[in-house]
């Protein structure tokens, strides 16, 4: 089964509110995590990443929090805008044989922003 999952498959917020999207992972040895945004019919776009030696990282209007104790990852979007409506995926870097690694993606959360 998948090692990365999401608590909420859908999230609906009002424009201007803050959004929080959650993700759980099971591999305590994972050392790198990414959040992607995927708009309908398009490929995923990188939003922000975080290494396991950090517990918080901020970008433009986005913040990723990593809680290694409970193996939980969250993406916070400040002042959510209609353009933020998309599916958001978390991904975890895992070993894939020998010295190779792969990203394992969660199922995704659909964020809908209401004007």
């Amino acid at each position: 089964g998948e090692n990365v999952g999401l608590h909420l498959p859908t999230l609906s917020v009002q424009e201007g509110d803050n959004s929080i999207i959650n993700c759980a992972y099971s591999n305590s040895a994972s050392d790198y995590f990414i959040w992607y945004k995927q708009e309908s019919g398009k490929g995923p776009q990188f939003i922000i990443d975080i290494r396991s030696n950090m517990d918080k990282r901020q970008g433009q209007r986005v913040t990723v929090l990593l809680n290694k104790t409970v193996k939980h990852l969250s993406l916070q979007i400040a002042a959510t805008q209609p353009g933020d409506s998309a599916v958001y995926f978390c991904a975890e870097k895992m070993r894939s044989g020998g010295s190779n690694y792969k990203l394992t993606f969660g199922k995704g959360t659909l964020l809908t922003v209401n004007p």
Binding site: I34, G43, F46, K93, N100
Partner: protein, 113 residues
Amino acid sequence: SQTIHQWPATLVQPVGSPLSLECTVEGTSNPNLYWYRQAAGRGLQLLFYSVGIGQISSEVPQNLSASRPQDRQFILSSKKLLLSDSGFYLCAWSVRDSYNEQFFGPGTRLTVL
């Protein structure tokens, strides 16, 4: 800057027909390359990855194959398509020996009838 191309953008094929999807990357050398499939409303499933020309690793047993004839070209193929092969196929690249951030192409929507 680096760009990644996929074609065709959409494809409708009958069951039993062959498949060839192409992915090319510009602006970088020796990338890692990846093929993913995304079923409707689902996450991304890694199908194949390649760390060099002619080097292909398969993640899941399936009806598909991949080839890398050139450094920046990655091809996904099938000899006979199944209904279950329908989906959104995404190609991605990452910096060689870096398995961190992956950059995705625009995808190909495949419908098998």
